[in-house]
């Protein structure tokens, strides 16, 4: 093994026919610049099959493995299973509580992914108490964080990366109105990440947020939402 593993990542590309082809020129030399491409959810506008076909055309048939999680937009048409199948047919791995491991020249990379959900951050977070709707909201996040922790725990690779759509930390939400932080992420995701030796956590969702943060346990967190990074993808060298 030599060097570092090169992780390219972008989220919130919100593809539809009107944006088809925008990313493709920048992906032409991706194989020379990165070992893997992560897509951090909100790949479509409304979660339709037609939009998923656009994602498949834009990010399919690339020289590196492409690994995705879905975002809230990708669920809007209540057809996430079909969206997932369209992406998978294009060779894109879609994670939701599971993992994938990839051999690179710099070692074996493992990615664990979930969409995640909201709930907020320590001191200002929701609790599973009261109305059924409130309990269901918080339990959705708890279940997602549990799946992420279990997935990270299964990995036996050299370098672990956590991929989510919702944010695990409030650091990368700076710039968003604080009132909506509970709808942008949850500390439970960070707790899951910190329970395992994770090299990097990547998320999207927060269009007005900032790029860089860190979990309480010290894991680097990067918000790769396209409106934040304002480039086709970012590259992180890890390991």
């Amino acid at each position: 093994m030599t060097g570092q593993i090169r992780v390219a990542a972008v989220g919130d590309v919100h593809l539809d026919a009107d944006a088809l082809g925008r990313f493709r020129p920048a992906l032409a030399d991706l194989g020379e610049r990165a070992d893997v491409l992560l897509l951090a959810g909100d790949l479509t506008r409304h979660g339709t099959v037609a939009e998923a076909e656009c994602v498949a055309r834009e990010f399919g048939d690339l020289p590196v493995p492409v690994i995705a999680v879905l975002g809230n937009h990708d669920h809007h048409s209540d057809d996430a299973a079909q969206v997932t199948r369209v992406l998978q047919r294009a060779g894109i791995t879609v994670l939701e509580g599971d993992t994938v491991e990839i051999d690179t020249p710099a070692g074996r990379l493992g990615v664990a992914g979930v969409k995640g959900f909201g709930g907020g951050f320590a001191g200002r977070c929701a609790s599973a108490f009261g109305e059924p709707e409130m309990k269901a909201f918080v339990r959705t996040t708890c279940d997602s964080a549990d799946r992420l922790s279990a997935a990270l725990g299964k990995l036996t690779c050299d370098v672990r990366v956590a991929l989510t759509h919702y944010s695990p930390v409030s650091d990368t939400l700076a710039g968003e109105p604080p009132e909506i932080y509970p709808f942008l992420g949850s500390y439970l995701l960070a707790e899951a990440i910190d329970a395992h030796p994770t090299a990097l956590a990547v998320h999207g969702h927060a269009h007005a947020g900032t790029e860089r943060g860190r979990t309480p346990g010290g894991v680097p967190v990067r918000n790769v939402a396209h409106p934040v990074i304002r480039q086709a993808y970012s590259i992180f060298n890890v390991g």
Binding site: D18, A26, R230, I235, N237
Partner: protein, 82 residues
Amino acid sequence: MQLDEYGEARVQRLLAEHDGVAEQGITVVRRADAIVLCGVVETPGRRDDIVRLVSTEFPEIQVVCDIHVATARPPVDAEDLS
């Protein structure tokens, strides 16, 4: 005419819930004589659709557009996290 808090909330929900727009990342800023729409979208057409929608819904209020279109250029460099 000035947009009040209810109007601001209507704009934000309209942008997210209108099928032709579906944008949750636009910030609405109320000014004395106008509303300013801020954010980043994927195409010039989407930016124009947002402005058209809000202007149609609130014809008596001036809409100022500060919405940028994200570029999709390749990155200049990589960040070393080891």
